[in-house]
Amino acid sequence: MKSLYPLHPYLRRHRWSIAAGILFVMAANVMSPVVPVIVGEAVNLAEHQHIGSGGLLDFATLAICVSGISACFLFLMRRVLIDASREVEYEFRNDFFAKLQRLDPTFFDSNNTGDLMSRATNDMDALRMLIGPAVMYSANTLMSLPMRLIWMFALDWKLTAVSIIPLLALPPLVRHLGARTHTLSRFQQDSFGDLTTVVQENLAGIRVVKAYRQEGHEERKFLDRNDDYITKSLDLARVQAIFFPIIRFVVGTGYAVLLTYGGIQVINNQLEIGTLLSFFILFSMLVWPLVAAGWVVNLIQRGIASLDRINAIMVWKPAVVDAPAFSSGAPKSLDIEFRDLTFKYDGTTTPQLANINLTVPEGRTLGIIGPVGSGKSTLIHLLGRLYPVERGMVWVGGRDINDWPINELRMFVSFVFQETFLFSDTIEWNIRFGATAEAPEEKILDAARRAQVAGDIEQFPNKYKTVLGERGVNLSGGQKQRVSIARAIARDARILVLDDSLSAVDTHTEEAILRNLRDVMKGRTTFLISHRISTVSLADEIIVLQEGRITQRGTHEQLVAAPGLYQELYRRQQTEAEIEQLDTPVVGGAPA
């Protein structure tokens, strides 16, 4: 079974437990068919009056002892095998999570959280059933069937051979139903993934849903997904509903054959009645392992369908390939260079960045300004190796960015993304998130102060221990943005990237933050993206991006003097202020 291959390393790690478990299964199964034989023998002796009550008691005790020993093995079997399956589930979950951590934004852009969650929960459950119960019961079946058959053959091979003929119908039946189960389970689980996605989207966007009164629409979407899921589930149920009854029926037919043929033999005095009794018991002992076999096939098929789904993630090749660690330490300088950079996202036709040539020596500040969708964020995302770039286009410290180990590179960069993300933990924890684990308290407080959020935090009853809601819902827009600036400052990295990071704060606060940042920026390479001339003007060099190309570059003074978008923006933002100024004569005292 090739599709089970991904499980190989896990099973290998637990091979001793599994081996021990199988050993216990074997032991239990060697024991259990002995009981009916003992019973049959006792009945035979009793039938011929060859036994006293003491003898019967001995037989009964023997049977109980044997089953007691077999029960001990059953106990051990369950413990060892099911524990191992939980262990494997645990490892698998960890690996799944670790894998997600290694995947890049390209992956998350194209996979829905809801679907990933359904893989991590629903499919993981099915997978655990595959590893635990399926392994246990199939070991059990594989061991008990032959053991019981051997006893039967030993008692009377002809009778056995005849009565198991109907059972030969089982393997093709099970194979057919198993294949159907596999396909249908896959459909069902995919459908569940879709259902989860609808729920996830609805909950994450609940504010929009409510504001635009989309509850009814959302409910319909959800109902549609539910109906689809029900259809898929019932398709599967139809197949599963045949599974056990058919096995029972086939075994029942064998039972009838046994009765006829065995009965005739007893009538012809070729078989003792007690032996026939043993046969009946042994034969009914075949039912359970066979039904279990059917169940196992079921579990395995469902499990494999889920394994496929999980494995699709596990084998996903990150678009950004990590490089081996540096042999001789990181480079001394961290000059950044873009050489003729052209970049295109997957699934788009025109490049989002074209012919970017740019050098930012370490310690300098680069301002980036440009209209919506011009590629500003894209440019700085490439710097963090969030998306893959061709070789030779982006250089950090004189080294192609593709040769940088991702972790080492990111250690040097401190991002404030355009869209903030905070975790549902304390504010302190969130600020510390950027810093090394051992960063002293003062550093966190200092970062909060510089980001001008300390004042807000001090006003919360729990101060820095205030626990945030998901994504920081209990903060205002500006507070969120400032906490994430504080996080970046606390990180204290050599490159600082601020992507439109003051968009949600008022001018007063903005001014104060910029003043503080000037300090922070000293000696650090800084990328400053903004729509405001006043912000980018702080930079040593400014580029204007338009439709993915650099259309202008220079210092603020140079750009203001040259005709172009920058000058135009400057005028506009300036006139806005002037219009306001003209409106009223009171502002005369404004400091220049």
Partner: protein
């Protein structure tokens, strides 16, 4: 202890607290009745399924009885034709069981699926109808676990549990009758083992219940954590925090595993015990039955056929007991899950339509805030006695430092939260006396945090509102300037939008949600920092769009850039939850207060560059 370890400890301590809560609570079995109520719409199917299982239960001992007759009446008396006849009877009985069984299993699956859908829908709608207060507290991951995982656990109980339990009890009963019928003395002897089984089952289920609840609490925590990390993966990666996040995940994962392993132990112990007890019963049959045989010879009251029947029936007798305990567990884990579901369903939405809502006419007059006091958490006032009026057709600007309560003000107008003191009136009617949907249908809001749905561009603009035609969408997009971008997308308006609009630039997302608001053609337009990430040129275009598309409409604009609000009819300034200034631009500048300070700063900035 290092700082990092200390912080980690604090985190884990919060988890342990939740665990303890899960452990002290007693299982509440009155939940069962409530659960069963969900079967009511499907009572016909349930009745059929139960009837089917009754028939199956009656037929189950048939093969054994047939074999008994065959042995005693035909084999012992050398009657081959009778033997063949019983074999045929055996096959026929099995065939009947086959059909009934198949039907009943499918029926059971059907009942389960449909009941689950009802429940899921109820939970979904209930969650949807909660106020934002609820969503502030409950992470998405946890709620997803409720709607998916927890409901799925209930499925097992609806499907196999209820009908299964009936079937087991029936077959237990039928087999007992058969045994008593054929030999009541022997049966009574065998019953001696029952107390042992009873004690074992009792212990089993008690021990298992606690671990079930623990498992569910921990699973939901694990999922919440994973969900949050998936959504924030970029932040984790950019900060190089993969390993420490992984450590926490590992901790959660391991504790979930441990809770499970406790249940495994209980299972491992219980089943072999039943196995041994079955054999003890068999030993009793052998000894007692055999004794009869030995002492009385051929005239014995106990026949070989009876022995065969008893020994096989014993297996079948203990099987339901084993199953019942397992079913009982299904029920228990269902109760553990339903406790959490019902707790959720019982949490009344604290924001509901009034019993007798006022009829609402088109917006005609004014919005009034009268001495509005509001706190997210009791005692921590965010708004303190804010009063102002917006006349129809006016544009009002709300300014103030960050965190002063501007967004909150708008959330209150949309009635996302209820205020504690004062009142908000629309056309003189308190908004708490209107239907919530009537109120919200007047308003379109562009929120500070943009949210886009997985789907297409056009779906995101019109959402579920089919009255918005493609032409209107395109027209509005043209006006807002969003159309320029759409033209460049591969499939234009049908281009896919990823989760949260991951493949759009932030400004584009803002333009899209602006377009959405205008497409809805609202009577009242609220813009909360709607142009924060948009360049000056596009912003001017947006203002044009608002001017043409919403001419004569009422709008409330929150902005930090004073340039954005220069056209406002009136400006109100919020500071620390107080309304501190109100008036036109000129009036406010003349007053030399907060507004002027903010304004001067921006003006100075303009000169400084």
């Amino acid at each position: 202890m290092s700082k990092a370890a200390e912080i980690r400890e604090q985190r884990y301590e919060r988890f342990r607290e939740e665990d303890r809560e899960a452990l002290v609570k007693k299982g509440d079995f009155s939940q069962m009745r409530r659960l069963l109520r969900y079967l009511r719409p499907r009572r016909r199917q349930v009745a059929t399924a139960i009837a089917l299982s009754l028939v199956i239960a009656i037929l189950t001992p048939a093969p054994m009885v047939i074999v008994k007759f065959a042995i005693d009446n035909f084999i012992q008396h050398h009657k081959i034709d009778g033997l063949v006849f019983s074999a045929i009877a055996l096959i026929v009985s099995q065939l009947i069981i086959f059909f009934l069984d198949r039907r009943s299993q499918y029926l059971i699956a059907e009942i389960g699926q449909f009941t689950m859908r009802d429940l899921r829908l109820e939970v979904f709608n209930h969650i949807q109808s909660q106020s934002l207060r609820f969503f502030d507290r409950n992470p998405v991951g946890r709620l997803i676990t409720r709607i998916t995982s927890d409901v799925n656990v209930l499925n097992e109980m609806f499907a196999q549990g209820v009908v299964g339990i009936f079937q087991q009890i029936f077959s237990l009963f039928v087999i007992l009758c058969v045994l008593l019928w054929f030999n009541w003395q022997l049966t009574l002897w065998v019953m001696l083992v029952l107390p042992v089984i009873a004690i074992a089952s009792w212990n089993f289920r008690n021990n298992v219940f606690v671990s079930y609840r623990l498992t569910r609490v921990r699973l939901s925590r694990l999922n919440t954590f994973m969900q949050e990390n998936i959504t924030g993966m970029r932040t984790v990666q950019a900060n190089g925090r993969e390993s420490s996040q992984f450590e926490t995940f590992d901790h959660l994962n391991a504790s979930h595993r441990d809770a499970h392993i406790q249940t495994v132990f209980q299972y491992a112990l219980f089943f072999p015990i039943v196995e041994v007890v079955t054999t003890v019963g068999m030993g009793i049959v052998l000894y007692k039955g055999g004794m009869h045989y030995v002492s009385a010879g051929a005239a014995a009251a106990v026949t070989v056929g009876q022995l065969a029947l008893f020994i096989q029936a014993l297996e079948k007798f203990f099987q339901p007991i084993k199953d019942l305990s397992e079913k009982y567990n299904v029920v228990q884990s269902a109760i553990a899950a339903s406790e959490r579901l019902f707790a959720l369903l019982d949490s009344k939405p604290n924001l509901i339509d009034p019993p007798k809502p006022q009829e609402v006419k088109p917006f005609g007059n004014s919005i009034q805030f009268k001495d509005v006091w509001f706190a997210y958490n009791p005692g921590e006032w965010v708004l303190r006695g804010v009063s102002f009026t917006v006349q129809k057709g006016q544009t009002i600007a709300v300014v103030g430092p960050t965190g002063s309560g501007k967004t909150t003000l708008m959330s209150l107008l949309c009635r996302f939260y209820d205020i504690q003191k004062g009142e908000i009136l629309v056309d003189g009617i308190d908004i708490r006396e209107m239907r919530i949907s009537d109120l919200r249908s007047k308003i379109a809001i562009v929120m500070q945090d943009v949210f886009l749905f997985f789907g297409t561009v056009v779906e995101n603009i019109r959402l579920g509102n089919c009255e918005i035609t493609d032409e209107r969408v395109q027209h509005v997009a043209q006006q807002t300037g969003f159309a320029d971008f759409v033209e460049r997308f591969p499939k234009r308006y049908d281009t896919g939008v990823r989760e949260r609009g991951a493949t759009l630039s932030t400004g584009q997302k803002q333009l899209l949600s602006f377009t959405r608001a205008l497409a809805f053609d609202p009577e009242i337009l609220i813009l909360d920092e709607a142009t924060a990430n948009i360049d000056t040129e596009s912003e001017e275009r947006l203002q044009q769009a608002v001017a043409t598309l919403c001419a004569g409409r009422t709008s409330i604009v929150i902005a930090h850039r004073l340039s954005t609000i220069q056209n406002a009819d009136r400006i109100i300034v919020i500071h620390h939850g107080h309304l501190i200034e109100e008036g036109t631009h000129e009036e406010l500048l003349a007053r030399d207060g907060m507004y002027r300070k903010l304004y001067e700063l921006q003006y100075k900035e303009g000169l400084a560059v």
